[in-house]
Amino acid sequence: MTPTTAPTLERKRPGPPGGPAGPGWDRGFGQPDRDRDGDAHRVPLARIAVWLVVATVTLLFAAFTSTYLARRMEPDWQTLQMPGILWLNTAVLAVSSFLLEWSRREGLKQQLPRLRAGLIIATVLGVVFLAGQILAWRQLAATGIFLASSPHSSFFYLLTGAHGVHILGGLIALFYAVGKTRTTGSVEAVFEPAATFWHFLGVLWLYLLVLLFWI
């Protein structure tokens, strides 16, 4: 079973470190080039982390979704009337997201005061959204629909609640970013991940709205 052509020492010499990646498993991952100026060329850690958070939160809601869809199939399913205030909340969250993107672009143009203003308003709108969600809960409760009232109401409270907890997390990130813009000019490391997560939560909210009331 010995190989006929025994590999020799010199065949084993790899290319120079940091040189072009050879064939093999590293293709596509690429090796961050740290030869020149330290960490400048690396992907910021927080950017990787935020995408991983997005992945894990997606799986969390995928799990909720699968049980929701399975439960919907049962004959005793009764659909809830969508609380009207959700339209308003959705609009608020959308504006918040758009403002965040606008302020990012202003930031790229080095318009730091605009960046800061947009960020602060977006954050405030996030708080308004959360308040609006709580209002929606109270409105529902006032009409006698509670967590355990029907399968749909259980899922409504569960999904909006789980989303709300993540919104809270997103708000903390945004608050942190607001704080950072006060002390330092470069906000990329904090601002971008927070914005990514916030946009994700916006998309997640639209998804939940469609899931809960339109299918």
Partner: protein, 600 residues
């Protein structure tokens, strides 16, 4: 130039507390995880002894046990309502609080930054948080033994409605709630950890450390982290919904029209099967969370002690990845008898049997690594070889259980118990032992006693086969899992003697572990000092001091020039060439192949 960057906080003044308790150093966190897991292993192992006492010697009086568990024993014999709680806690502790935490939390934390040449994890603070969610989870779990009704008793799988209705079983009164809360905490910790691992491997590799030069142990940890990141949120969702069902009146998993404990249940229209889908969507990846890290550990140790490159590195990485991917598609094989559509069963059979292919590749590659090797029998190597045998034995019984028609008979019998105790308990445990013997010098700067290590191996290897192999036959005879006693059934009459034998073997196995405990503690205190590279190994962690200093590498991070398996390279003076050794001029006349360290 690679100079110390912002992850070096070596100069920080550190008190005892920040250094050893609330440490953000990945090595300390890894050791904390490992030590806590070993403590939990003692508790989980002790519970298994209680199980074996009841199954092997149901008529004996156990005075000390009644003293220890006044609520669980009466007339010095175990009460039937204590048994399910013991079984449940044994399973829960071993799966989540021992093997996951030790193999992923312990070895992952310790080895990932060291093997990739990083100074620490990407997010040291998050890493510390990850560990510090674990002790509270343990406290909450163990306190449940003391609450009214005792600990959770619905099995480690916690199938509702048994786990959802408070009067279905005593443990569902309060114990189950504590179980769920404890697990939720632990899951959050696992998610922090895996987020950290993935980011670290992506971003903090040393110069020259391409993915294709990553040691297999690191590959395994990396893929395990991906598995955990994508499967644990699903269990988290299920845990939240079950908590809602138990305390907030929802009916996600509780159907209408139930009568439990002569009381009509008021819940309406849930479906208990949904829990099973969610649970096993985690649960099956979870068994690979337990077995991938040992696969990596064993690959490392086999190669190092064979003084040979690991055979088929590319296939090894490929099969690890294939297992990772396929493990998300096989959860249904736990539910063949739950009433699923037959075609769904067929689909899950196909995916499940396919996952045997990458497993087979790994086994044959390990065998090929041993071929014409120069084997060095360290304690770690003995356990690594034992792992291969156990993994084969346990893996093959999986072929039975993957086939739904066969599974009709074997489902929920001791055949299943034997299967998973071989493949994910014993094999994973052997990986844990092998890893501990191998990396102990690096963790503590001292050598373990090899003589005791070998005695520990012989007793454990024989003990494991003696304990778990006969369980297959308890299964073929039809003995159900989680039954308190076999005396109620005529078809189980013949099993009393075998159960006694299994119990005696299990007690021996348990006692043999005391040798390990003694060796671990004794070597930690007064073992001989270890030098940098006691096993003459290639990987980066062995190129720094033992134990590595805070920041791991002193002033300069290592630069990587080759893959980690240059053992017994023809023409080289030593039988190993560490990854940090730069290219030497080619021997006269031969062409230089620029393909990255692996011959074509």
């Amino acid at each position: 130039m690679t100079v110390t960057h912002d992850h070096t906080h070596a100069e920080h003044r550190q008190s005892f507390i920040t250094r050893w308790i609330f440490s953000q150093d990945h090595k300390v966190i890894g050791i904390q995880y490992l030590m806590t897991s070993l403590l939990m292993a003692a508790i989980g192992g002790f519970l298994s002894m209680l199980i074996r006492m009841q199954l092997g010697f149901p008529t004996w009086n156990f005075y000390w046990a009644q003293w220890l568990f006044p609520g669980g024993f009466a007339d010095f014999k175990m009460k039937p309502d204590f048994y399910p709680a013991v079984v449940t806690m044994h399973g829960t502790i071993m799966v989540f609080f021992v093997l996951t935490t030790a193999l992923s939390g312990g070895f992952g934390n310790f080895l990932i930054p060291l093997t990739i040449g990083a100074r620490d994890m990407a997010f040291p603070f998050l890493n510390m948080m990850s560990y510090w969610l674990y002790p509270p989870a343990i406290v909450i779990l163990l306190i449940s033994f003391l609450v009214t009704g005792g600990a959770a008793a619905a099995g480690w799988t916690a199938y509702p409605p048994l786990s959802a209705l408070r009067n279905a079983v005593p443990g569902s009164l309060w114990g189950q709630t504590l179980w769920l809360v404890s697990l939720a905490l632990l899951i959050v910790g696992f998610l922090f950890g895996s987020l950290n691992y993935i980011t670290t491997v992506f971003n903090l590799r040393a110069r020259g450390m391409t993915m294709s030069r990553l040691p297999l142990v690191t590959w395994a940890q990396f893929l395990t982290a991906i598995l955990m990141l994508l499967s644990f949120p699903v269990l988290f969702a299920a845990v939240i919904m079950l908590l809602f069902d138990r305390h907030l009146g929802t009916s996600f998993f509780i159907p209408s029209g139930l009568v439990v404990g002569s009381q009509l249940v008021t819940h309406q229209g849930g479906n208990p099967i949904l829990w099973q889908h969610l649970f096993w969507f985690l649960g099956h990846p979870e068994v690979y969370v337990l077995i991938l890290p040992p696969m990596g550990i064993v690959s490392e140790i086999l190669s190092n002690n064979s003084r040979k490159p690991i055979f088929g590195y590319t296939f090894m990485v490929g099969s690890l990845s294939a297992i990772t991917f396929l493990s998300f598609l096989v959860w249904g094989h736990h539910m063949f008898t739950s009433g699923m559509h037959p075609l769904v069963g067929t689909a899950f059979m196909v995916t499940t049997l396919l996952i045997a292919v990458p497993s087979a590749i790994k086994v044959f590659n390990w065998l090929a690594t041993l071929w014409r090797a120069q084997i060095r029998f360290t304690s770690a190597m003995l356990f690594a070889i034992g792992f291969v045998s156990l993994f084969v034995t346990g893996g093959l019984t999986g072929v039975f259980l993957a086939s739904p028609a066969v599974d009709i008979y074997f489902q929920d019998t001791f055949f299943v118990v034997a299967h998973f105790h071989f493949v994910m308990a014993s094999a994973a445990l052997f990986g844990l032992f092998a890893g501990t013997y191998h990396w102990f010098p690096k963790m503590f700067g001292r050598m373990m006693n090899e003589r005791l290590g070998k005695i520990h191996f012989w007793l454990t290897f024989v003990g494991i086969y003696a304990t778990f192999y006969p369980m297959h036959f308890a299964g073929t005879a039809g003995m159900m899992r989680r039954i308190f006693s076999t005396t109620q059934y005529e078809f189980l009459r013949g099993l009393a003697g075998m159960n006694m034998f299994i119990s005696v073997a299990a007690f021996g196995l348990g006692i043999a572990q005391l040798i390990f405990a003694y060796n671990f503690i004794n070597s930690w205190i007064r073992g001989p000092k270890a030098d940098r590279n006691p096993w003459k190994s290639n990987t980066l962690e062995w190129q720094t001091e033992s134990p590595p200093p805070h920041g791991n590498w002193g002033a300069h991070e290592p630069t990587v020039h080759r893959w980690p398996y240059d053992y017994s390279v023809p023409g080289a003076t030593d039988d190993f060439i560490p990854q940090t050794v730069p290219a030497v001029p080619a021997v006269s006349g031969a062409a230089v192949d620029e393909s990255d360290g692996k011959p074509t």
